[in-house]
Symmetry: C2
Subunit: 214 residues, 2 copies
Amino acid sequence: MTLVLHNFFRSSTSFRVRAALNMKGLSYDYVSYALRKGEARAPGYLALNPQGLVPTLETPRGSLTQSLAILEWLDETSPEPPLLPDDAWGRARVRSLAHAVALDIHPVNNLRILFALRDRFGADEAAQADWFRHWVAEGFTAIEARLAQESETGSFCHGEVPGLADLCLVGQCLNNRRFDVDMSPYPTIARIHAACMALPPFAEAAPENQPDAA
Amino acid sequence: MTLVLHNFFRSSTSFRVRAALNMKGLSYDYVSYALRKGEARAPGYLALNPQGLVPTLETPRGSLTQSLAILEWLDETSPEPPLLPDDAWGRARVRSLAHAVALDIHPVNNLRILFALRDRFGADEAAQADWFRHWVAEGFTAIEARLAQESETGSFCHGEVPGLADLCLVGQCLNNRRFDVDMSPYPTIARIHAACMALPPFAEAAPENQPDAA
């Protein structure tokens, strides 16, 4: 199966898909879009992804957009190793943790939002960074509480194998490095982040290991 | 099965779950939290949902948070009628459309974000409304293009039965009413919205039909 991943090294939604492709042993061609230069808004790319966002996964069947939809599709079509547990309650827990990052932290801290804060409200870099850290703290405080107290938490977010929640959580931790987020209030998240990054599929997906890294 | 939905009449994430419960013929107790008064941040509720957000679905097994995780769980445990198509490619398409609303429009226009724009940057009601409309236009332009050109679109987002994408899209259309969003550039979305609201499960889930409606 020929797969082409349209993405950007520093994008955490791109990281999620790169790491999942690595976990499943699926090779792919890498196409990069410099988001700050607006390359994802070029007409050629909009034909693949009308939202002009990354990532897009080109498959023999067509183009897939939205990182979480791509991850669910990968898990359904290449089930080993699974990204979700085999029981409905466990799947709900993992999706809930993943979505606490993917819906409530990442979207409001995305580059396009920080640019809009600058252009509409004059937010300088310090104000943008403070905004970023605020929403990380809101989300991570709740996620840390859940991971620390729920019995399903193991070496990873859910037991002893990494999955959907870990992909989202680690992607966010990687983003946090650019905004000096203090991770000391989140020892469980920090422990899971370290456990994931010790695995080749995660390490090889890291921004600094991509061909378009600065 | 005794279900308790912790929610708020005007919350579109709550709407998604109310309409899905109605579609599947599942009855539930309704508990309301006045978001503007901070009721979802009270300690009793934080024990159910550490994020302090709505909705939360209490089930005999425990509490479920994150509307999309709740919807996937409902679909797995009460499969009829389905919220997702039975083929992997169709499911990816429906999730991608749903997520274009649920990840890229709703989170950045949420009440807590509009309040943060006011408190941090002095955004008045007009600036907040302009921010809201901007992100709706970004997302709806892309979604309209997809729905208008993709052959899978039918009376609803995907064929002739409503599902996950319709729940998210209609919830957003209901929110848009409060910010005078001009729907004329989005005839396909408007058509699908009307088709859904003609169905009792959607109509009965509308904000104005909830016990806590003003």
